[in-house]
Each structure stands twice: as structure tokens, then as C-alpha cells.
Symmetry: C2
Subunit: 228 residues, 2 copies
Amino acid sequence: MPRAGKGGRYHHGDLRAALIDTAVELIGERGVRNFSLAEASRRLGVAVSAPYAHFTDRDDLLAAVAVRGYQLFVAQLLPDAESDLLPGARLAAMAAAYIRFAAAHRPLFEVLYDAGLDRARHPELEVAQKPIDDAFLACVTALTGTGGVSRADGPGGAGAEGGASGPWGAGGPARDLAIALEATARGHAVFLLDGSFGPGAAAVDRAAQRAAQATRALIESRHLLSPA
Amino acid sequence: MPRAGKGGRYHHGDLRAALIDTAVELIGERGVRNFSLAEASRRLGVAVSAPYAHFTDRDDLLAAVAVRGYQLFVAQLLPDAESDLLPGARLAAMAAAYIRFAAAHRPLFEVLYDAGLDRARHPELEVAQKPIDDAFLACVTALTGTGGVSRADGPGGAGAEGGASGPWGAGGPARDLAIALEATARGHAVFLLDGSFGPGAAAVDRAAQRAAQATRALIESRHLLSPA
DNA sequence: GTCTATATCCCGATAGAC
DNA sequence: GTCTATCGGGATATAGAC
């Protein structure tokens, strides 16, 4: 720890990492929208221009926070995704974990989905997001057998799809279900962070339970999701 | 129209309404996050302080935009909510209309759910939101019969609930389904605006169809949503 | 009561010294 | 890699013309 004094010049041990930590801290206190590089610099006792040695601009810092966020998110989902339960139960558990992550790491979740980051300008976000989509898809594939149109890659596979645009590629019933499940989990998380489920820990439990139940319902009637 | 010249002093016909229009315009061009009162003033040819005669601050203007947004939103949902179709088909049509509203009036949808407005500071938002929840709940009630714990008010009823906190009040199976449906529609809308369904009009159609299908699936397996 | 003019503060970003 | 200095822009608030 290279002194936090304000007077003379000094080296900071690892300003880049410190900025990411401080960003999460500040976002937790004031929300992404009110996060400013200047305040982060102030809190770390460095000049307002110092961050620009490590990040091109504010969004570049937030993108780095987002990458860390995705990593933690996957780490929270994977145990459920890879448990020995039946695929349906695993997916329900993943939905609940999805909600719990949003609540327990709200600052990170905000950066992931509410910071207005330009995915085109920050391709690393897509890369970091992919394991999450893969986890859902792998469970769904375990549930339904192979996906129909295209086989599922293993996580980390090349995944070059020729079909429709967007991260989800072409299709098949497995993908249809995976998309519905992820969209539904996201909707419940958004409602929770909105306050639509009320405040406090009880709201988190309610939201997680609702998301898990909706997941089970979608699975049970999945034949309705892929019409043609 | 009281001249748009810049030189002399003049009365603006209805600065308040003009600001709301211009806000929608600007948000469409640059997103809510980058909307500023100053730019709206510039575009209208008035001083930057002029808006403060009509709105206490930026969020107060956005709240007014949001109220208009809710009104248009309800107008888009009601025809489907009140059609002669069976309740299940009405709910599926509402989900599709939900998505289409988000796409066709993206600036308004952004203000509604992505502007970070403080619902506590702007109670009129809850009021304006309620008819949407009511429309979903009314259809669900038509589907399932009465809700179980509490009877459904007509739209505009007092709706004083004693149960858990949050806008949704106590519960009953009808409310459980209504919440699941609205959360799912919202999740699909968020994905669409994210770009997760790809760009262009085809993505809108895909998203709307997916939301409608997920709605049908949740309805079919609604027995899984209210466990106890 | 509506608008102009102005002043202050904070933030983002850049240039150049060390 | 960090600092000092600086610029432009936006938000807030106030004083005063009409």
C-alpha cells in the first residue's frame, strides 16, 4: 500500500485494480448513473487525469467492471448448472441464482445491464456474456436432447452460426426455450431491482421463487415455444 | 407558433408542452442517459433556465414524459385486453403489443423503465402505471375466475391491499400469473432493446412472437406458479 | 408569471511537465 | 504513470427585465 497521503508524488500500487474496486463501491452507494471518474479519483487520492492512463474513458472503466461482473455471475450460476439434479430442477435453480445475483451484487448487475454500455465498442462484453448463455443452453439441451437445427457447442466452442443476427444465432427448439428462460429471469430481476416486488430480503426470496416457478412452467409447456 | 427567431424577447406558446415533445425527440436521437435540459432549451431557442419555470429539474420533466408514455402504453394494450378473443389469446396479444410498444416508442419506453426515475419522488408514476397492471390482472381474472385470496378490483378501484409491500399487494393465483406474465413480457422487451434479438424490424417480430408464445406456455402451466 | 443573463460547481477529457 | 493546468459542457440557483 503506497501511502494514501495527498501531498507529494507517489506510485500507486495498482491503480487500475483500485479503480475497479472503487467503482463498484461508488456504484453501490450512488448508482451507475451517478458514478463519476472524478469522484473515484478523489476517493483514491489521485489526480482526475490519472485514470486515463489505464482506461480510455469512463465507459472503458465500466466495461472492465462489467467483465469482472460477468465472471462472478457465471461463478454463481455454474454450481446449479452442473449439479446432479434433473435438468429441469437445475434450470429452476439457475433462475433463482440469477435473481439472487442481481440482488446480492446489484452494483455489478447494474453495470452489466443498466449502464448503457455500447456492446459494439466493447466486444469483450459479448465474450464475457457468452458463458452465461452457454450455461442455460447446455442445461436445456440436457433436458430436450439435441437442439434440432444446430448442435450445441461445448462452452468455449467456436460457435460460428450462420443464421439470424444477434448473439443467439440460428435456432432450434433448445434455443427457443433457453431464450425464453433467460428473458424471464431477466424480467424478474428487473422487477426486483425496480422495487416492484417491494423492499428487503423477503422481496428477494419472493422474486427468486417466482422466477424458479415461471421457469418450471415454461419447461413444462415448452412445446408451445417452437411452433413450426 | 410564436416565432422561432432567436433575437428578441417573445412569448412561447406552450413551453411546457414543447419541452415534452422535444425531450421525446432528443431521447430518440441520443438515449435517455444523454438527454439534457440544456440541449432541449437550445433546440427550442430559449434560455437554459427557462425550463425551470415549468419543471423543478430534469427528472421532473422526464416524469412528465413518463406519464404521457404510460398513457400511450395503455392505449396500445387496451384494444387487445378488451377484444372478444378468449382470455388466453388476449394475454398473448397483449404480450406482443407490449413488445411492439417498446420498439415503436422506444424513447418513451426508455423513460418509463430506464431513466432511473425515483418513484418515491414522483408518485404520479405509480398512478399512471396502475392501469397497465390492471389490464393484465383483469384478463387473468377472466381466465381463471376470481383470484382466490382477494377479489380483483375493477380498473380504477380503490385497491387498498393489506398484504405484502410493493405495488402488487397481497396475492392469489391470479396475481401470481399476472406478475409472471408482465415480468416475462418485460424481459423480452429488455432483450429486444438490448439488441439481443438482433437489429431491425425482423427482430421486433421475433421478440413479439416469442413473448406471445411464452405467455401461452405460462398460462398453460399456471398451476405451477402458485404452490401452496 | 415568464423569460434573460449570469455565476458557480462538478464532470469528462486533453496537453504538457516531471 | 502520475501530476498540474485547462477547456467545454451541463446542472443549479439567483437577480432583474417585461
